[in-house]
Every structure is written in C-alpha cells, then in structure tokens.
Chain length 211, copies 2
Amino acid sequence: MKPVRVVVVDDHALFRRGLVGLLSEMPDLQVVGEAEDGLRAVQVVMETRPDVVLLDVNMPGMNGLETLHAFHKAQLDPRVLMLTISQKDEDLIGAILAGASGYLLKNAEPEALRQAILQVASGNSVLSPDVAAQVLNALRRAQDSSVHNLLSSREQDVLRCLARGLTTTQIAVELFVSQNTVKTHIRHILKKLDVSNRTEAVAKGMQLGLI
Amino acid sequence: MKPVRVVVVDDHALFRRGLVGLLSEMPDLQVVGEAEDGLRAVQVVMETRPDVVLLDVNMPGMNGLETLHAFHKAQLDPRVLMLTISQKDEDLIGAILAGASGYLLKNAEPEALRQAILQVASGNSVLSPDVAAQVLNALRRAQDSSVHNLLSSREQDVLRCLARGLTTTQIAVELFVSQNTVKTHIRHILKKLDVSNRTEAVAKGMQLGLI
DNA sequence: CAGCAGGGTGATATCTTTATCACCCGCTTT
DNA sequence: AAAGCGGGTGATAAAGATATCACCCTGCTG
C-alpha cells in the first residue's frame, strides 16, 4: 500500500520540524512538503498534490481559515486535517464550514494523529473528543434556529395545545379566538410540518424539539 | 479512580452479553445494568444512575431515538453513547439532535470503545470517523440554508456584483435599476451582515459562502 | 469648484406572511 | 336527526418584507 502523502503547514519552525520528523518515521505516511504560512502552503499543495494537509489555525498573515479559503479559490481543495491548540468555537466551526475534513488538537498522541491522517486520507472525518461536543452543539443550535423559524408564534401556541391533547374547541377557549381561527392555524401547521393530521403534527413537533 | 458506571442497552441478547463480558474485564469500567429494550432502559437508568449508557439505534418497539426522548421526558438525560451499525443520516443526526453525546459504529475496536466511553463519561463527545463526515456535512448544510435565507435574491445579486468589484453605477447598469435602488440594497446587505462598508460585506459574504 | 464615489435617511408600491373568521363536508356518537 | 369532532376552501385586514427611487452629506480627485 502506497504511503499517504502529507504536507505540514505550521508557522512554528521547531514544532513543524519535530512533527515532520515524527511523521517520517511512520512507514504508511510520507511527508512530501512543508510550509510556514498560508501563501507558501498554496504553492506547496499545488506542487505536491498531497493526500492530506495538516494545517494550523493560528498563523501570522493568512491564518488557517483563510488558507482553507485560498485552497478553495485556487480549486485545490485538498483533504485538510486542522492541527491546532485552539478550541474556540469560531475557529472550530469556521474551519469546518471552510471545508476542513478534521480537527485535531495538538495534545493528541502520535498514534492518534497517525490514525486521524489515515482516516482523512480515505475520505472520513476526525474530531478531537475535546471539541466534538462543540460541533454537536452547533448542529443542535442550527437545527433549533431553523425549526423555530418554521412556525409563527401563534402556530407554536396551537401546537403546544395539541400536544396537551386539547380539542379545537378547547384550544379556542384557551387562546380566546374562534374555532375557525384554530383550524386555520392547524391547517398551516400540518402543511409546514408536512403531515396529514394533528397526531402526526404532535409527533413531528416533538421530534423537532418544538414541544 | 472510581470505575465509570455503564448501562448496556441492546435488543440482541448474544451481542449484549458479549459486550457486558468485554466491558467487565476492563478495570476502569463497571457494568451496572443492562436492558433489551427502551422501556426497560428507562427503568434501569432510573435505578442505577450510570455515568454512561451504551444505546443501540435499531430496537423493536422503542428504537434508540425514542429511548433518548424517553430519557429526556423522564428528566434522566444520562450521557449516551450510541453503539450501532446504522450509518443512516436520519439515525445519526436524529440521535445527535435527541441528545446523544457520541455515536460509535459496532465495528470499532474494543480499545476504541473503552476510550470513547471514558471520553463521554468526562463530558466530551466521540464520533466514529465513518460518520463524522456526515455530521460535518449536516452542519455545513444547516449553515448554507440559514445563510441563504439571510439575503433576498436581489440582495444576493448586488453582493455578487460587489464581489466582482463593480461600483454602484456599474451595478445599476448591470441590473437595470437606478443607483439609488442599488444603494438601498447595499444598505440592507450591510445591516444584515452586520458590517460597515462594502469591502467588509464582500469578505463576510465569502466567509459565509454567499459568493 | 465640479464631478464622482460611498454611505445615509426617508418614501411608495407590491407582495408575502400572519392572524383572524365564515362556511362546507364527512364521520362518529348520542 | 342533531351535536360534536376533524379536515378542508376561501375570505379580509394588518404587519412585515421586498424592490423600487429621490434626496442629502462627506470625502476625494482633477
């Protein structure tokens, strides 16, 4: 099996050299280039066409995220595994949205790094456990936001009443509106949730976190 | 250090027994209960108050996702590590949105499972590399959706023109509207992207994937 | 000083969304 | 047969969003 070809991008020379040395000792990895900044990284990736790029976030000049964008602009789009000390949400989510295939913290063991590179090389993604929860939370927040923009506040009122088992008449009394108003809101809810009746609407609403 | 207390939930008796045996041999883990279905799982978790619950997705009756909801309904909310063969987006994203702290495929090595349990017990999250890419893609899609609802189609037209370096006058000619119309669109863009001028708007638009 | 650029305030018209309600139909229960 | 239920069509009014444009101010350049 051909070794995975890797480019290492980090502005700290000592760290980079040490990492290159470490990776060079691994038979299934082959370091084919290195760069100390984003601009250089684009050139090196263009020349070497590696399987995986190890990329720091914090670098002077072009930071890691800008480098990801530059890869994209240059239509390179290599598989990138971020290797950084930053656990900041904006760096983590920013890197993911900018196309990174993985995010590993620099405190990872050498063997974990090796495994991560191999996974990324074969198209999978890897997240350090320390930051994976942040990614899951970001996904949950995105879903919450998108879901809560789905129904108007009145429709959410009606759905909560349905979840309590109230009939149309009871909901009308509860919300001080006519039954016909309630029925119209229910009609819109069924349409927005893409269901056929109020029972399904309640189930779907629970599934989406609306109730 | 006290061993991590684990409950195993899986409908396949042979698999469950084998897993319990495997985990019982690990000194830093302690299996304190097991269940073959969701209803039983809620009872066992209530009784044993484990640090981590290993939970399958595919189970007859209440499946894994419904069991997560039942945990929440019962205000138990244990740390749950899904352990399943399912790589389906709806199971994966569904479990995450329902509160799972991790998602591991059953093809994982015993040591990887042990590490994952320990990570989840300490509040981190773990995803199998085989499914992590799906999570990152779901996050990207959620972001795309939310971003593309941010600007109206006309505003997106104007932003793309700005990105090409056109002036207000040139954009007006290009879109067959007056300069004042273009300026109004630009004003709304600046406000929606929370920036102060068109240069920042273009940078932010690129960062958000609008251009 | 005039022209050109960007940024800003305010206005109008149209379209869409939200919230309201009347009425109709079919089914079930009393 | 009547009442009550759920699901459906259609209507109106108000609010908000979208798209349009006029006008003003400031700074820079020729």
